[in-house]
């Protein structure tokens, strides 16, 4: 296999050239609790629309940044929305526009701004996945064409994405002796963080005993290892660093990295044999040297968390602990606010909102702005934040630092 390109000199030229200057999101709780008597909204109600949710988030991000729509000249569109319809609904004639999830969007925006194609990029996401009853498993599982393993095994009754991650965790158990009790620390910590977040959907704390007593969905995964399914929108603004108006403390994009492991992915080889760690290692060799940081410098950390195990594997992959030590590493409050490496401090996709990589970015930005100062949610003295994204071996990362 060809060796991975690591052009440290070229990457370093992009360090701190762009910054996040505004963030916003929809009312996750209000939209979720819109069913009768404040119960969860019915799946498939059709009550909300993805573009509507994205528009709400964008308006809030612009207000947060002290910018107007006319300042936007680039757009990244996430979720099930098309670029054309998004630009039409939002009334933006962009000079640069692509589709992507949050980390792909951040990397693309960094490149586009540095190439001089645009200078102020809105990254917007809206997903009415609960209202639209989007399926992530079973006969109508989405993503089948893009990620074959999600649907290929339908004749054998295996299409669930949770099932694939549960199978990966079972392998980790077999190789390293990791236990379900150890894994439970992830969902317990994220729920604790959500309990401090007014916009988190699931706020009721639970214990490891509650976790162990919760029902299995795909054994060894329990209910609490799974993310939510809810409607929502997220937006943030990335601008050329030297143009930031100073309304907010700019949060610099200081490191970026990207590496994929797709060979034999439908066979689940990179998942079950390698836990995708080689992809993590490759990204580590980009994002840390570029930002000048190491795991020891990260004050607040967020990982994609459609399932609890994403955290376990990413901490091993990025060198916070050794491969196989993740189960022991995440114990004793180490991943909680106040601990050594606070992770998913908004509650993440397990407990705050399932915004598919998008809700993690505003949370890291607000932590580095110290916007929660005076509350238990604030990570004291946060200067450096990291987001790690690993979705079926598509691994990306962003290191943020607090600007001056």
């Amino acid at each position: 296999m060809a060796s991975r390109v690591v052009e440290h000199d070229r990457l370093k030229k992009l360090k701190d050239t762009v910054a996040v200057v505004g963030v916003g999101e929809s009312d996750y709780v209000g939209d979720y609790r819109s069913g009768a008597k404040g119960n969860a909204a019915e799946k498939g109600s059709g009550a909300l629309n993805s573009y509507q949710l994205a528009a709400i988030a964008l308006k809030r991000a612009l207000d947060d940044a002290g910018l107007t729509k006319d300042d936007i000249d680039g757009l990244v569109v996430g979720g099930p929305m098309s670029t054309e319809r998004t630009c039409e609904v939002l009334g933006i004639n962009a000079s640069w526009c692509v589709s992507g999830d949050a980390p792909r969007g951040i990397i693309a925006a960094t490149q586009a701004i540095n190439a001089g194609l645009c200078h102020t990029v809105a990254l917007v996401y809206g997903n009415a996945q609960r209202s639209m009853n989007t399926q992530y498993g079973g006969p109508q599982a989405m993503g089948g064409d893009g990620i074959l393993s999600y649907v290929y095994y339908a004749p054998w009754g295996m299409t669930s994405q949770g099932g694939l991650y549960s199978m990966m965790f079972r392998r980790h158990q077999l190789v390293y002796g990791t236990t379900e009790e150890q894994l439970g620390a992830v969902s317990v910590a994220f729920r604790k963080h959500a309990s401090m977040n007014p916009n988190a959907i699931m706020k009721e704390r639970f214990t490891i005993e509650d976790y162990m007593n919760s029902r299995y969905i795909s054994e060894p995964f329990h209910l609490f290892d799974y993310c939510l399914i809810n409607d929502g929108g997220v937006a943030f603004i990335i601008q050329r660093r030297d143009m930031a108006n100073g309304k907010q403390i700019p949060i610099n994009v200081s490191g970026i990295g990207w590496s994929e492991m797709d060979i034999d992915s439908t066979q689940l080889r990179p998942r079950l044999k390698d836990f995708y760690l080689p992809a993590h290692h490759a990204v580590r060799e980009q994002v840390y040297p570029m930002s000048g940081m190491t795991p020891k410098d990260i004050d607040v950390y967020a990982t994609y968390d459609s399932f609890s195990t994403h955290l376990l594997f990413s901490l091993e992959g990025f060198g916070f602990c050794e491969p196989g030590e993740g189960g022991a590493f995440i114990q004793d409050g180490r991943i909680e606010i106040g601990g050594e490496i606070p992770c998913n401090t908004s509650g993440g996709m397990l407990s705050e909102s399932y915004m598919q990589s998008w809700n993690h970015q505003p949370e890291l930005v607000r932590q580095l702005r110290r916007q929660y100062e005076g509350t238990e949610r604030q990570v004291a003295g946060a200067e450096v934040g990291q987001y790690v994204h690993d979705v079926a071996g598509k691994c990306l990362s962003v290191v943020y630092t607090r600007g001056n």
């Binding site: 089948g144 074959l148 290929y152 339908a154 004749p155 549960s166 392998r171 795909s218």
Partner: protein
């Protein structure tokens, strides 16, 4: 009457795999130039991009790499609890499948020897035989 199962992903190369399966022959594509076995079926070898291949008969032997048990029902055809197992074949590829109904997740362990068997099956493409694995000798 064969058991109806969730529909297969079908394309010209998958169709060839299932044509062998109809005869209870478990085969995978072997590259005509570099000999790499590939699964699922595809147009070219992912190692050397050769479009030349033959359908290599496999031993039907393997061992357990991992497994799960669905306690939530995703398909009416597969009521819970429903185990799924990843079998590392003797020839190298990893094959993900279910087991005959009489086997449970609790019958499995790391590296347990597994062997091929066939289940009756039908979907909108027609009747066929579904290759699955079970604990060897059981």
């Amino acid at each position: 009457m064969a058991t109806t199962r969730p529909v297969r992903v079908m394309d010209p190369f998958a169709r060839e795999f299932w044509e062998y399966a109809e005869k209870k022959e478990f085969r995978m594509q072997k590259c005509g130039e570099c000999n790499k076995l590939r699964w699922p079926a595809a147009a070219v070898c992912d190692k050397c991009l050769s479009a030349e291949y033959s359908w290599e008969p496999l031993s039907g032997k393997g061992q357990v790499l991992s497994w799960i048990v669905f306690h939530r029902q995703y398909f009416p055809e597969y009521p819970a609890p429903h185990p799924a197992v990843a079998v590392e074949l003797a020839e190298g590829p990893i094959f993900v499948c279910c087991m005959p109904d009489e086997f449970q997740g609790s019958d499995l362990s790391d590296a347990l020897p597994m062997e091929l068997t066939w289940l009756d099956a039908e979907d909108r493409f027609g009747e066929y035989h579904l290759p699955v694995f079970k604990p060897a000798g059981k």
